[in-house]
Amino acid sequence: MLSTLQPPRSLSHFRTKPLLLRRHTSLKPLSSLSSQPVTHSTLTDQSQSQILSTRDSLLSRQITAAELAESFLARLRRTEPHLRSFLHVSDAVLTQARDLDDKLRRNEEVGPLAGVLVAVKDNICTAEMPSTAGSRVLEGYTPPYDATAVRKIKELGGIVVGKTNLDEFGMGSTTEGSAFQVTANPWDTTRVPGGSSGGSAAAVSARQSMVSLGSDTGGSVRQPASFCGVVGLKPTYGRVSRFGLMAYASSLDVIGCFGTSVADAGILLHAISGHDRLDATSSKREVPDLASQFVSISLLQSKPLKGLKIGLIRETLDDGVDIGVTSAIRTAALHLEELGCSVTEVSLPSFSLGLPAYYVIASSESSSNLSRYDGLRYGNQVAADELNSQYMDSRAKGFGSEVKRRILTGTYALSAGYYDAYYKRAQQVRTIIRKSFKAALDEHDILISPAAPSAAYKIGEKKNDPLAMYAGDIMTVNVNLAGLPALVLPCGYAEGGSAGLPVGLQMIGAAFDEEKLLGVGHIFEQTLQNCRFVPPLIADEDKPC
């Protein structure tokens, strides 16, 4: 189904001919009467979409939801001692799976995410599970409501398998900032998974869950996707409601999706997108059908992306970037050319300004957003004789050092006498960056770059050097400043670990143009030879799926 709202330069000029063979996936629940012929997927290879193959398997009774859930939970239990992706695992997974099996047996309608196991980053509120944002301040806190994104997943039949580890309040790039544990990268457990959505990325990479939700303020979905060899999708700001996402920087935060394939990330994004009355910044724009454009490669003509103009951002391939990364990206560029794209270098001179601007703006906004953690409304309180002492002690004890660092930085940047030099100036830089991306995207369909200047580094390597850690965000922050959508998908390997370390390609699109990103990403992924990006930790299984 084509959406009625076409983005500025539609995909039609390079879509394959047999549109009629597109899968008629809609997100309306399909009846599961066994006498009805099962709608044939054009994605015949199950590795293309776990969500769709789950649906096929459940509806054709090849597997039950309980069996599927058990196999994931078994893998989760086996791998968790090595990975520590989860802060909380739900004890209701099998119950929900069995309820679903009952429904299927009664031939009742089930939603398009039925039986899909979803992990949720712990800064996203879930009503039945603790939500700590990786912080002592919220240790033991269970919210009274579900975030809108979580509610939608549940309404469509998804099962929340647990809450994943993160850098505290989303501040960090490794999960070493979590108050509770450090998550390990499934490709090499001595290395970081990236952050702040490290737990969500690791969970999907190790197939502990099928898909997961993360959040991305400065790259926190895309960088861990790159480090863990999974697909990470950051939607346009406003595409997904932030209601229930614990705010870090309100003008930059978005909820994003992880999957083992572009199709899964797209289907999950479609499920959670849309205007929400409870988030005044959520867009009223119609959401195009992001779930049904994933054509099987067997149906693609040669040069399926002919006519697509891709801009490779010159400033992202200079000296500061690891050779393993630049080489993987250049190879990816060649692959895109083989598919028919024209890839040209584009220069964004303001590119490097994004990092300082981001840190000023994000810190400033966080210094306001985190003031609500005062020990009075929710979370942990340090008793004191006097109100100010209570605030101070609760925060001193509850917040980790990185959070304190950013709050102090933000407070400084907003204070009288400094506001103009820091905050205001950073916002002016933001406007420049936004304009430069818009100009580049007026000339190109998609911009590409690495998602990080290196592959995953060792745990502990940057822990004591915050600025070095911040520097790793250079590839991702500009996208948040400009509010644009971006997709990261694994495109190659760099040296390290026992089987190499994955490197992700970042594709950046025009605002609200997720459809194009997903279309191109899917074709890129499906035509990548011999690349299935399964970490050695689980590669010995016969069918990790």
Partner: protein, 321 residues
């Protein structure tokens, strides 16, 4: 604005407007309407504005007016003494008792709010339809009302009184809609009715008199059914107990006596019952006319038309007999 009274009048008009709109009771004493003032002076001819001083703790319009005038004179005095540098940007408090502004105690630290544009609240876009809808739903605002009353020929005093309180204006408007003469209605409202309200500490919406009955009262006096004096009595009754003009007239038999024959009979009776006074009158004590008039009025139970009474009385008094 240039002086205290301007500012106080402006604040009072704001109060009037918010009360008219029904968005606030505008009571300064309750804090529903607050007023902070900034004052600066500059020598005539200087283009650059002088240092401004903020004044707080103003709890009434009169305080606004006096504080401004005080502050103006304080700053002018400093200028005249060559000490204008002593005027600094600060917040001063108005001391009602001492009737002057004083420096606020210096605070330990400056309040730094660290404001930045709120990212969770995007821009609000108002459609022209929405704006037009609001515009069309506005009640008649004080300024429009005053113009309208002016056009009716009412004096400025009447206009200001009637338009000051929305409920009074409404009462007035309803009364004249029933056909009553504007000036008469204004007079009744501003004098007898206002006095009653003040005495009883009632607002116009609380008195039992309805504007329809006021109009009826005015009409009854105009067409001679009752005298003006009777009218005032009825008014008091209507204010306190309600009821209708027609009902009261009937109940208390208040119809004015306008038949000359009937009045003549009463005049003759009083004159015959008071020969001594009659003689005194005929000898020159013309003031006694009032005495006779009073007696006749009493006899008529107040119903005699005063004009007619006095005319016939005078005729009788001056007749030779």
């Amino acid at each position: 604005m240039r002086n205290g009274i301007e500012a106080a009048e402006y604040a009072a008009e704001i109060q009037r407007v918010v009360r008219y709109l029904g968005v606030s009771n505008g009571n300064m004493q309750e804090g529903s309407l607050r007023c902070d003032v900034n004052v600066s002076v500059r020598p005539i001819g200087q283009l650059q504005f002088g240092t401004k001083v903020e004044i707080k703790n103003l709890n009434a319009f009169s305080a606004v007016s006096r504080a401004i005038d005080y502050e103006i004179s304080r700053q002018v005095l400093l200028h005249s003494q060559g000490q204008d540098k002593e005027i600094v940007q600060e917040t001063r408090l108005w001391e009602e008792g001492a009737q002057k502004t004083v420096t606020m105690r210096k605070k330990e630290g400056l309040s730094d709010y660290r404001y930045f544009p709120e990212p969770d609240l995007p821009g609000v876009f108002l459609t022209q339809d929405y704006v037009d809808g609001i515009h069309n739903s506005l009640p008649e605002l004080p300024e429009m009302k005053r113009r309208r009353y002016e056009k009716m020929g009412l004096s400025m005093q009447d206009v200001l009184f009637l338009a000051n309180d929305m409920n009074v204006a409404e009462f007035f408007d309803t009364t004249i809609k029933k056909g009553a003469d504007a000036k008469l209605a204004a007079n009744w409202i501003m004098s007898d009715i206002a006095a009653y309200m003040k005495n009883e500490e009632l607002s116009i919406t609380e008195v039992k008199l309805s504007p329809q009955e006021l109009a009826e009262l005015i009409a009854s006096i105009k067409d001679g059914t009752i005298s003006g004096k009777i009218g005032k009595q009825i008014l008091f009754e209507l204010l306190a107990k309600g009821g209708t003009v027609k009902g009261l007239i009937e109940e208390k038999d208040l119809v004015q006596i306008v038949d000359p024959a009937e009045i003549e009979k009463m005049v003759e009776k009083v004159l015959s019952e008071n020969p001594k006074q009659l003689d005194q009158y005929r000898s020159g004590k013309t003031k006694l006319q009032g005495y006779f008039a009073g007696q006749i009025m009493k006899l008529s139970k107040g119903k005699a038309n005063p004009g007619l009474l006095n005319k016939i009385l005078l005729e009788k008094l001056n007749a030779k007999s």
